[in-house]
Subunit: 354 residues, 2 copies
């Protein structure tokens, strides 16, 4: 594996330290920088490589352009028993959502269930990171977010009013890996389209359509078309509901108010997210529940496979294995990305990653 | 319309009275019978005709076989602040879920958000009915249910361990129709497959596969294959999460414990459902929210359409229009169904519907 000339294996801690140094150099207080760095490196550790260190340069570009607040006053602005809204004061999304999840966990411990939304937040990386946070407290996490660029029209339309608005859910097991779902409500995330273009591959039918409503297969033409929702009108409905719950409900951007953060580095994105936490202790049967999850996982894993299917996976199981492997062997970073990070290190005057 | 020889238009109230009489004759207390009748007739009124009066004969068959309790002791068995679990004592699902939603609304008024699950419940009709109940209280409803027969294997497998586990969500608007999503996590609900078979039509590719993993297009061969989830592995993950939240979490059936209620009329189904309610008053900006929902609906409805698209719909808008039309003109019931209901009326010794 280490003989692969296109990748360099970087230990988690080294990656985290590098990201933290970069964000500190960009103006974040060191504690905040290290908290974001930990989450970004965790994204890479679990293989969510579209949401990890690859985002460092864009984040810093936004900070330098004045589009993100390095010294935010993040706080609970709506606090009604089990319900709350956190205003992120345009700070980095990782800090804002972590704060919201922390409050939701405390509230769930008290009320059995809690819902906390965010506004004036920003892109926060992979949804699963936040859905998973309640797990270590013996709690279930559900996470909803408004994406940071609209790539999907309503079903039947061609004005891009919706994003890939993701859903994540994390369910604690006893001895089996926890079940963790993390999915965009579109057939493909936009990052996967860009990856296909980079590799010179065609997209399968069903990912995108063009302005005639015909299948769009060439990812290099992706700006001529739109992402398709999962299950047609169903995924459109899901993306809309997620946007209403994670955005509109908190006074955050949704629909035509969503900023394309790849094009516009200055305007406040007013990103919204929401976390739901359920404390298993509230059910009075936490252990029974976790054992049932184990049994269900075993039933599914050991069930009869279709011809050509090598293994039946549980949601989150592949990320789980990746975390273990990468923790031992290091995280594979493409050499092209590494060169970009070396350039960034020189710009910021920090130590090199490699 | 009334010249269509295959349908008879029946007023809502007459349908409701008929269902209520039938259920009373089958042994339910009259108040319970009328509550179920109202919900079943409402299902037909909004066009959810697979979940309305068409289910009356199967329900009564189950009651007569001893598979459903006509005098259940429905009550809250777990009560932890904003979280609760209702045990339905094997009563009709409509009664059990209505009770759970009522409690969730009360809890949400107090705590801002509430989550109430059910166990020992039964099939309760269309998910949207229950998600919509909080609307008139200025609240958001989200509903999850475990289906009453497994028709879907895990992704890559062929043991049917999952049902079409639906998700419903209802979001209040100000002057526009409320947004109401009601979707199975499979590409098609099983009822749609049966309807295709009845009409002698083929299914589109993507609804089902056979035991070789190949597309199954003939709905008459549906017992040789499986329903496919929306978005491939994504819908599999969603169905699993819904089942864990609506079933396992409440001590209700999930996975291989799910009874096929079309085949087995005697065993307790131990059906599970869950409702999440958010009180808009907790946000301190209920009116602003509802106005934002209106604006979003207008933006979507008025957005540019693809060629051949006549209208862009909001989720729930077609049901909303159908409720208005059917309330005026009556609910169209197929004459074949009407004959079955006449037979049922004679069996039960109640007045005829027609």
């Amino acid at each position: 594996m280490t003989s692969d000339p296109n990748h360099v294996w970087v230990p988690f801690d080294r990656l985290k330290t590098f990201i933290g140094s970069a964000l500190t150099a960009a103006g974040l207080p060191q504690t905040d920088a290290m908290q974001v760095a930990d989450l970004m490196a965790q994204a890479d550790l679990q293989g969510s490589d579209g949401h990890g260190v690859i985002r460092l340069a864009p984040y810093i570009r936004r900070i330098r352009a004045g589009g993100m607040n390095t010294r935010p006053n993040i706080g609970l602005v709506v606090d009604h028993q089990a319900f709350g809204i956190v205003d992120g004061d345009n700070g980095m999304g990782h800090l804002v959502v972590s704060h919201a999840v922390k409050i939701a966990i405390e509230k769930a411990r008290q009320y059995g269930v809690a819902w906390v939304g965010t506004r004036h937040s920003n892109h926060a990386g992979p949804a699963s990171l936040y859905a998973r946070m309640p797990l270590e407290h013996g709690m279930i996490g559900l996470y909803f977010a408004v994406g940071n660029a609209n790539h999907m029209p309503p079903w039947g339309g061609m004005d891009m009013l919706l994003s890939t608005n993701p859903i994540a859910a994390a369910i604690p097991a006893a001895n089996e890996p926890d079940i963790v779902l993390d999915m965009a409500t579109t057939m493909a995330a936009y990052g996967k389209v860009k990856a296909k273009a980079k590799r010179g591959e065609m997209m399968p039918e069903g990912w995108m359509i063009d302005r005639e409503g015909k299948p769009l297969l060439d990812p290099k033409r992706s700006d001529e078309g739109f992402l398709l929702p999962i299950g047609g009108h169903k995924g459109y409905g899901l993306a809309l509901i997620v946007g209403l719950l994670a955005g509109t409900l908190n006074g955050a951007a949704m629909g035509k108010d969503v900023i394309d953060f790849n094009q516009d580095h200055v305007s406040t994105t007013n990103t919204g997210q929401a976390i739901l936490v359920i404390d298993l202790n509230a059910t009075g049967m936490a252990d029974t529940f976790k054992q049932s999850v184990d049994r269900l996982e075993q039933d599914i894993r050991n069930s009869t496979r279709l011809p050509n299917c090598e293994r039946i996976w549980l949601p989150g199981e592949q990320s789980h294995l990746r975390r273990q492997t990468y923790a031992e062997q290091g995280i594979p970073l493409p050499t092209a990305l590494l060169s970009e990070l070396e350039q960034l290190a020189r710009d910021l005057g920090i130590a090199s990653l490699a």
